[in-house]
Symmetry: C2
Subunit: 137 residues, 2 copies
């Protein structure tokens, strides 16, 4: 039961469980490809016509702060949101605004191994994400 899980995630983080938060989180999960705030609002309004735009932005911010979501930078500067999962990379279409997830454990090992040996002078690495640009066929 998905809703249960969402409720759990929220209360684990000490966030109040509100219908808006549940709606927003499930919207992002349902919509599944890196929706913008606008996409989310549009989707939610079907079942939740009174939700306020400001609320959506505030909820998104607090979900990001609590690591339930990640912000994804898009080419145009409009922010998009992604449910946090195991670390993954992104495929950016060079021609459209399509963004897909890309997971590759072997690749991660390769890169992590490389930096474990080499490191970066004056920099402590927390996270590495690839932006792979190209075209879908």
């Amino acid at each position: 039961m998905e809703i249960k899980e969402i409720v759990n995630k929220l209360s684990e983080k000490g966030l109040r469980v509100t219908p808006q938060r549940i709606a927003i989180l499930s919207a992002i999960i349902k919509l599944n490809n890196h929706p913008t705030a606008e996409n989310i609002i549009e989707y939610i309004k079907k079942n939740h016509p009174n939700i306020s735009v400001g609320t959506v932005y505030k909820v998104l911010d607090s979900l990001v702060e609590n690591n339930l979501l990640k912000k994804v930078k898009s080419e145009s500067g409009i922010m998009r949101y992604d449910p946090t999962q195991s670390n993954h990379h992104h495929l950016y279409c060079a021609q459209t605004d399509r963004i897909e997830d890309y997971e590759d454990e072997k690749l991660d090992e390769l890169i992590t191994g490389y930096f474990n040996q080499k490191g970066i002078r004056n920099f402590k690495i927390q996270n590495i994400q690839l932006q792979i640009t190209g075209t879908f066929k």
Copy 2:
């Protein structure tokens, strides 16, 4: 002579050589770390007080289109600009808005080698950029 180079780059691309374009390109080169449009405007106004904001954005766009600049997505969604050079990656500070270039030929070879063998199903790779998040020490 830097200005000469800039003039050359512009005319090579078939762009008219205007004082505004020269000023903007040299500002980005001088400023050196991924300035925003606002940073650029502020810097240019010293020597070029009448330049118009709209012009700066339009020039930036055309420089990006002609591969003389790259747009760098920043955490806040404000675009930043980077003179195009050999391909390079970015170090993002997790605490501030500092962004530094990171070049690493060995790493590029490693990654290119990996994808040459493996590829990505349904995707033609044009370019790979790493976003390395962490802290400067």
